[in-house]
Assembly symmetry: C2
Homo-oligomer: 291 residues x 2
Amino acid sequence: MNFYREFRVLPASKVKLKKIDASYHGDLDDGDAALPLIEEYKKKLRELQYRMYAEHKRSLLICLQGRDAAGKDGAINHVLGAMNPQGCTVTGFKQPSKAEAEHDFLWRCHKVTPRRGHVAIFNRSHYEDVLVQRVHKLVPKKVWSGRFAHINNFERLLADNDTTVLKFYLHIDAQEQLERFKKRIDDPTKHWKISESDYSEAHYWDEYTDAFEDVLEKCSTEYAPWFIIPANKKWFRNLAISQIVVSALESLDMQFPKPTVDIDSIRQKYHALSAAVDDAGPDRKNKGSKK
Amino acid sequence: MNFYREFRVLPASKVKLKKIDASYHGDLDDGDAALPLIEEYKKKLRELQYRMYAEHKRSLLICLQGRDAAGKDGAINHVLGAMNPQGCTVTGFKQPSKAEAEHDFLWRCHKVTPRRGHVAIFNRSHYEDVLVQRVHKLVPKKVWSGRFAHINNFERLLADNDTTVLKFYLHIDAQEQLERFKKRIDDPTKHWKISESDYSEAHYWDEYTDAFEDVLEKCSTEYAPWFIIPANKKWFRNLAISQIVVSALESLDMQFPKPTVDIDSIRQKYHALSAAVDDAGPDRKNKGSKK
């Protein structure tokens, strides 16, 4: 199972989402079978993130897109929650604020791209501007269709600056979306986040399909690939994403930087300090101090 | 075991750190005994954070302070890593940048206080300005001693804005610090982060003790308490911090907000959508759509 290769959209290839089985789960039977693998990838992810932080040369940007209830939040919680929050920021892109809308569509995204050594996760992203804005005709075709090139240029800039860009489309089918909507209706602790728009948006299913297919066809590049993740099964979605991220980070062959100090001289300092502490006792009050 | 009560510094009380056993571990024998409790608190923490996010009224600020190798990073990774990164930011405060140094000392901290519904964790904090700056005489006494009042005023502002402020001093003794330094020397994957200053700072042990005691005595308030966490044992540190955070959040009695929609009408919309999907089949192409 090499999900990186299996789910990657090759540059300039044609995408027909309805031909892709959203319930696909490889050769694994169920979540129990996947659990040890998921744990293994989460552990690797943590180690790789530590190495990226230490190396302080590269960064990682993960974009998550999908229809309502596709599992963007879930993917962030379960898979990427494995990362050390100190090296990781998550930004959700909702309707632009007034200040944001006064700039070009990439402005608010650029501000929160990952700094060196860090990971940034976008929950939705700059792609909203060729998805919701297109489907609801908020901008003319000339505007949204021009954005694909801007997006590719932007992502190339990031890639040239040693940012690994990975983009995941979480692929669910209409039946699965309905079942998830139903679960929200049946769970009182979720009522607060139900909005009318979940239901009105669902009626634009085909329009979103067209918009997503265009995104996947036009913006999956060598330097910033899209992956189509079968996401009806949450455990499979978690497994596939974590394997792909691990695989991308492993290929970077990141190295711990050389120490900035001479370790032998540090060993000597350590022994000197050790003698001072032994001399003074555990609380050291008034001894071994430079006061 | 009520660690909130046990480790909280009462306002205006006297603190003698050398009288506090850094190896204290309550009535638990070892990390294995603590593990199920830690897992339970982590689960609660996640639920409470979700509720805070949903309620969208309050926020939480956690400050971690301690000597080098006291376990600030470890506490963030293990305990607070339980939180959903989407509702949580972590900021490390190192030496101020040039731009930061051109403002008052609270400026850079204020910018990253938690927004409504969110959690912010400070790895070091505004307290550095009455710790390292005092110990190394970077500012005159008149300046640093005036900062305690500024800090209390700042934290009151946050508390009045429904931010729960919890501050943890991770208490280790000199022997434990030495052992941790030794582990870093012995582990090649940690060499990159060893700095000379670890060793030079350790010689200021007593000066830091005085500075921390002042902080704990002057800035543990009703609205922003300090806790002294015995932190020689990492598992105990994790247990104590998570229990205290859970306990503070539980006392807020946070409620899920009322739905913004009428759930009965949503149920009807759901049934209508369901019928459309059944009619069109799982991929829905050209059916049930508003195109």
